[in-house]
Symmetry: C4
Subunit: 200 residues, 4 copies
């Protein structure tokens, strides 16, 4: 029931790298009847969804990596929560593509609900994973670093719920907030770290 985590990380890395690169398959040659650069520009929803899904899934990978540097043992529950988390990660390119395509149509608010809702679900899945690690004693005892991660994870669902709710108020604002959250979860360990150093 116990075991090392290296193979879980290897399987996760495979799934993350597939998910991150998935939307590159949607990049098609520009139509021959348009001038080259105008034909490329007309495909901006494809480029935007590839760029966003690659970078945001990359940031999720970084956070997955940060957590697993503290995971010392794996058990069945961790493997299941990790599987559900990976399912969420592989799902992300689909709402991202729909979101980008909807920007030029009248369905933009529905697509944004699906898009921001998917990120809310992922924030919950990251917390499920963290709780499984902590409750089952699978993490090491570097309390400070883990406390930073736990604080980060705990506010994730709250922030993404605000982002999700903002969709009904203003879609562009909700998308900007969503992107800001990705950046926040990229740099927040550095911020907590500095804050901690000031306190220490």
């Amino acid at each position: 029931m116990s075991g090392e985590t290296s193979r879980i990380e290897a399987f996760s890395d495979g799934v993350f790298s597939i998910a991150a690169t998935l939307l590159v398959l949607e990049l098609k040659p520009p139509p021959a009847n348009l001038p080259f650069w105008r034909g490329l520009a007309a495909q901006w929803p494809g480029f935007a969804s590839f760029l966003l899904s690659f970078l945001f899934i990359g940031i999720m990978w970084i956070n997955h990596h940060r957590l697993f540097t503290h995971v010392r043992r794996a058990d069945d529950v961790l493997m299941v929560t990790n599987l559900l988390l990976l399912l969420g990660v592989v799902w992300i390119p689909y709402p991202t593509l729909l979101m980008a395509q909807a920007l030029t149509s009248s369905r933009v608010s529905e697509a944004a609900i699906l898009y921001n809702g998917s990120y809310l679900a992922l924030a919950l899945l990251f917390n499920l994973q963290l709780q499984a690690c902590i409750r089952r004693g699978l993490v090491d005892r570097e309390y400070v670093a883990l406390r930073h991660i736990a604080r980060n994870y705990a506010i994730g669902p709250v922030l993404y719920l605000i982002c999700f709710a903002a969709t009904w108020w203003s879609v562009p604002l909700s998308l900007a907030f969503n992107a800001a959250l990705a950046l926040f979860f990229l740099v927040s360990p550095e911020l907590w770290g500095k804050e901690h150093h000031r306190q220490g």
Copy 2:
């Protein structure tokens, strides 16, 4: 003829992660002439087959991982049985997709025969792998954990044969039984473990 197992696991992880994510390629934008949510809902066979193949292949990966934590050496026979097992894993998304698409057509019983039959074949391939490991002395000597795994594997083909036969009686029942078996093979090591602890 002997060797370490890490590279076999790395190749297997690559194949498992590709197989698990394969049906995400079938998720297409909803047709533009339907309302957004109705268009999404009309694509439920795609979502269902992606979800099922991801989770069931994920559970197979967990079982593959459980077995390999006990494999100490690899030989040519193990590499061949593992290759056949991976072939079965990569095959699963195809009958899953046909099964989901058939649910709205009149071909549901034929698709269920292929679907449940594929899982029966996989149960046999898992046993072939286990037998290769045991007969050729490739596993470690943690008898208790291995005995649990061997017990699990041994009843697999029997249970999937019942599931396969149930297809002729009732397709929905056979599909529900198939899903229940996936859950069973996810949690059974925990169950055996507890039973063992009660006995010990």
Copy 3:
């Protein structure tokens, strides 16, 4: 210029697992206007090419793995010969698909020339890799095992050249010979090993 081989193996495993599973993308749902099983049967070229490319690339992976268990160091030349070998591996699914599709057309001999010629090229690339390892002193000193591998590799191009030439005489015979060669390169280390044990 020297270095460990683990990352070369990891990159190779990624490419091998993608190449092996590539033709599963060609498996399409059977047409709706045919009965289920007849519709499936009509797609046998797709199944055959998936099965053959998966198994033959799997056997190549086993041989790649066998060689690398003896490679102690990597240098730039090894990385280049390995890259060319991987290029050949990724290429294989394409002639395999054309071969299977050609079986029901009048282009069968042309497709067989491409198919058997591709395997001849791969046999040469495997030898290029082996020679790079030996000439540059990258392998360990387990002479017996390596001598078996070197003997195997050396006869590869000769056998595949016969197979290639046989295409002009009889396509079915050349294909059967090609499949027999895959089996031969799967089991030959066992055969050499036994022969050696009898001699020893």
Copy 4:
């Protein structure tokens, strides 16, 4: 904030292997109305773009590997620069495909601007990565090898800028220069090494 680099390399290997094999998906069976070999020959833009993107991404992988043999620790900044580098690597197959398709059309100079410009961007991303490693003290102290790498990286953007500018003068020349640069970055460590040995 510190950590090992093995998982970053594993994720990178996954992305590199996907990027390198991406254009094999563009190889389609030749049209049935043409003779076999003529039908294949008519698809040369597909073969050329597959071959070039596989080899050039392979050479980038070799350079990524060379750098990471000297990286001892990873931090958040390295993970971000690595993510941006991988984004560039996954992007390469797209301009390569457009370039190959444009060779038979009147859009060849626009496609070459995109193609050579993409390689210029990648040369800058490789330098961003190297600078992150050096400035943040993540590399080991094998100064000579690292100085060779740093020298290589530093001239990269200059050479690719010349290549990019050459596009307006002569597209064929710029493409030949681009290919020559890939070969240069493959063999240059050997060249610097020999030069160093002569001096030493």
